[in-house]
């Protein structure tokens, strides 16, 4: 890449060629580490050209924010009152997704385990992806179907939960369709039931085995490419992610409160 730029700009005299060769030798190590893929052929200066463009976008948003701040006040509700729990508590909008999870999972799952899995999974992304080069610097949807599918799936789920929490939940976190009046308090929902312990264990074991074995059997190439450890971590995370919509379905479709009930924790 560097060679390309220099070739375009510097007259290729013998002396310059020698300089370029020396430069490449001296910095060879770093160059190889840095430029392991093809770059787009045309370049511009970082400063001032690129920085100016970013500043223009910033300026546009400055105008938007100033207009917004002029016309719309940031909310300030009544003074806090520890003695009076409001019937209509909503967390800040960016946390409503987690709050929505509270409707389906105990707080230790919704507030601690699931966020930890999300963040842990995000930290692991570079190490779980077995391919070091595919699609760098472009949108390669076709070549990275599984990676992009998982990531988008989780991303969309996070915001879907957030939107449901924002717009479809009213007093006491009951579900309201958009055409229903949220000021009407809903009657307590139908009685919920839980799986008996053996059924719960059987369900989770079968689910886990299915999620861990099935992909390896169907996509054997993939399995051998990623290796056992990566495969194991990836599909545990994947199974955990898929469990969220499954629980949502079990709760809303079949009124299941818990899949597993133990004296110590419930799932």
């Amino acid at each position: 890449m560097i060679e390309k730029v220099i070739e375009e700009e510097v007259p290729t005299t013998e002396e310059n060629k020698e300089r370029l060769r020396l430069l490449t030798v001296v910095r060879g190590e770093t160059l190889r580490n840095r430029d392991i893929y093809e770059r787009p052929p045309r370049y511009e200066l970082f400063f001032p050209n690129f920085v100016m463009k970013e500043l223009c976008v910033g300026l546009a948003f400055l105008i938007i924010i100033f207009t917004w701040a002029y016309y719309k006040d940031a909310p300030l509700y009544e003074l806090s009152n520890p003695a009076e729990t409001p019937s209509h508590i909503k967390a800040a909008w960016y946390f409503v997704g987690l709050q929505e999870l509270l409707a389906y999972f105990d707080p230790y799952l919704a507030g601690v385990i699931i966020p930890s899995l999300i963040l842990g999974g995000l930290y692991l992304v570079p190490f779980l992806d077995p391919d070091p080069v595919k699609g760098i610097g472009r949108f390669a949807f076709k070549e990275r179907k599984f990676a992009i599918g998982c990531f988008l799936g989780g991303y969309v789920m996070w915001y879907a939960l957030l939107l449901v929490g924002m717009f479809f939940r009213g007093t006491y976190w009951s579900f309201y369709w958009p055409w229903e009046d949220q000021s009407v308090v809903k009657a307590t929902e139908v009685a919920l039931w839980s799986f008996p312990l053996p059924a719960g264990i059987a369900f989770l074991v079968c689910y886990g085995l299915l999620m861990l074995l099935l992909p390896a059997v169907i996509f054997q190439d993939f399995f051998f490419r990623v290796g056992l450890i990566r495969y194991f971590i990836t599909f545990n995370l994947f199974a955990a992610m898929c469990f969220v919509p499954i629980k949502v379905l079990l709760r809303n479709g079949f009124h299941v409160k818990y899949v597993l009930v133990t004296p110590w924790f419930n799932i």
Binding site: R34, D35, V57, G58, I89, G111, V125, G135, W264
Partner: protein, 206 residues
């Protein structure tokens, strides 16, 4: 870093750059709010009320602070999405991905701590939800599964500085929101940019 690919500003709207921009707007407006806001449970709410109603341009400054924070917490995950879709976490950029996730966590924490400072009902009960979650942490929380710590030594107690939300909570959230987290964010952002440079610039046009 001298040369960057032409056409860098294209269809993903420089989401990283915008995150920096919104962060800077918050850094610029925050200190002005601090001039009038005292993190005292008996004063905090009325101070914010004063900022909204009495202080010249107070409402405007608070609004800019709030709305740019909202846009930042929207932009950072979108930036992460862009980075993922362009596979920019692959070598040689793994480290920057890790730094990025830390930035993401800090951004959410910054918003969480800031949200509770006005000490109104929404703030108080919103923070209570967060505190309940901490209380239910497995092993480390007093009410969580397999808890080992009593309720005056668990992670919930450490977070709130007590067993309920009160003055100690406000004090430590104030410290976290105004000093610790922005400082950490600013430092890590510097490292983030240094890493872009070290990896030989951006992976491709944005």
């Amino acid at each position: 870093m001298k040369w960057v690919p032409l056409g860098l500003v294209r269809y993903t709207f420089c989401l990283g750059g915008l995150s920096v921009f919104f962060f800077l707007l918050c850094i610029l407006t925050g200190p002005f709010l601090m001039l009038y806001y005292v993190p005292d449970v008996n004063r905090a709410y009325s101070d914010v009320m004063d900022i909204m109603q009495v202080v010249p341009f107070g409402a405007f400054v608070r609004n800019v602070h709030r709305w740019s924070a909202c846009l930042m917490v929207l932009c950072v995950p979108l930036h992460m999405l862009r980075v993922f879709l362009q596979a920019a976490y692959k070598p040689p950029r793994q480290l920057n991905w890790l730094v990025g996730i830390t930035l993401l966590i800090l951004t959410y924490l910054l918003c969480f701590t800031g949200y509770m400072l006005p000490w109104d009902q929404e703030a108080y009960w919103g923070a209570t939800i967060g505190a309940t979650m901490a209380e239910n942490t497995p092993i480390l929380g007093a009410k969580g599964p397999f808890s080992v710590l009593p309720s005056d030594k668990d992670i919930h107690y450490i977070m709130l500085g007590g067993t309920v939300l009160d003055q100690p909570t406000l004090s430590r959230f104030f410290f976290a929101h105004c000093i610790a987290i922005p400082g950490a964010l600013a430092g890590l952002m510097g490292f983030h940019f240094y890493n872009i440079h070290r990896a030989g610039g951006m992976s491709g046009p944005l």
